[in-house]
Amino acid sequence: MTTFALIVSTPPTDNKTSTALKFAQTLVSQGHNITGVFFYQDGVINANHLVQTPSDELNLMSAWQGFNKESGTPLHLCITAAERRGLTDSLDNDLNPNVAENFTISGLGELVVLTSQADKVVQL
């Protein structure tokens, strides 16, 4: 068994994100462990629960959530990258928290932790 850390930097509107998910699923199905998926750059948009995906297309947010539930792999979000792209966990009255369940709000420090604990780092 090998331990991986994954970094996802592409948004749900990019098919590359589907590649990242499938790679993650294959890692787990092959018996490997993932310290966490770290969403950075436009990757953070995957956690926006206001994104409306047409019902006949793959909803990557739900798919990541399902992946988290099935495998227990943590999904981390860089809060600085997220805030500037319209995501918030704020409980202020004029803001509506829109980070989807199963995603954990973190900072870049988490990137350091996830990657330093892994045997292999794959950026997708």
């Binding site: 331990t3 970094i7 462990n33 310290t35 950075y40 750059q41 600085t80 990258a81 500037r84 900072g107 870049l108 420090g109 990137l111 350091v112 990657t115 330093s116 604990q117 892994a118 045997d119 780092v121 950026q123």
Partner: protein, 122 residues
């Protein structure tokens, strides 16, 4: 599960104001360094445009993260490599905003990358 200090290489291939790549790459480098991870920076392809002196981000209402390059020493980021071949191809003289930057050819970059544990590209 191994748990140890890893060495990180960050490769910049994007021009200064190409989306937020340069800025978010720098943020990642600063955090890694703040956690006392050895970090080296590489500028290749259009990434070499980030290293040019006297850019003025304010002119186009962009964040001047280029100014932060001058503070990399305070973060102990001193292994900085700028690709000569990429500079030449773009007709750029080797005046760098990065005090510690070394201009080197792609063969040296290749051998430096070989010895890093984790390589991230932006």
């Amino acid at each position: 599960m191994s748990h140890r200090v890893k060495s990180y290489a960050i490769i910049n291939t994007s021009a200064s104001f190409d989306s937020l790549k340069g800025k978010e790459s720098l943020d990642a480098a600063l955090i890694l360094a703040s956690y006392e991870m050895p970090v080296s920076l590489f500028f290749i392809g259009d990434g070499v445009y980030q290293t040019i002196n006297a850019q003025s981000a304010e002119t186009i209402q962009a964040k001047d993260y280029i100014a932060t390059f001058k503070a990399l020493g305070f973060y102990d980021i001193e292994d900085i490599y700028v690709c000569n071949d990429s500079l030449d191809a773009r007709n750029i003289a080797t005046t760098s905003v990065l005090a510690d930057a070394q201009c080197c050819d792609k063969h040296l970059i290749k051998s430096k990358l070989e010895h890093c544990d984790v390589v991230l590209t932006f």
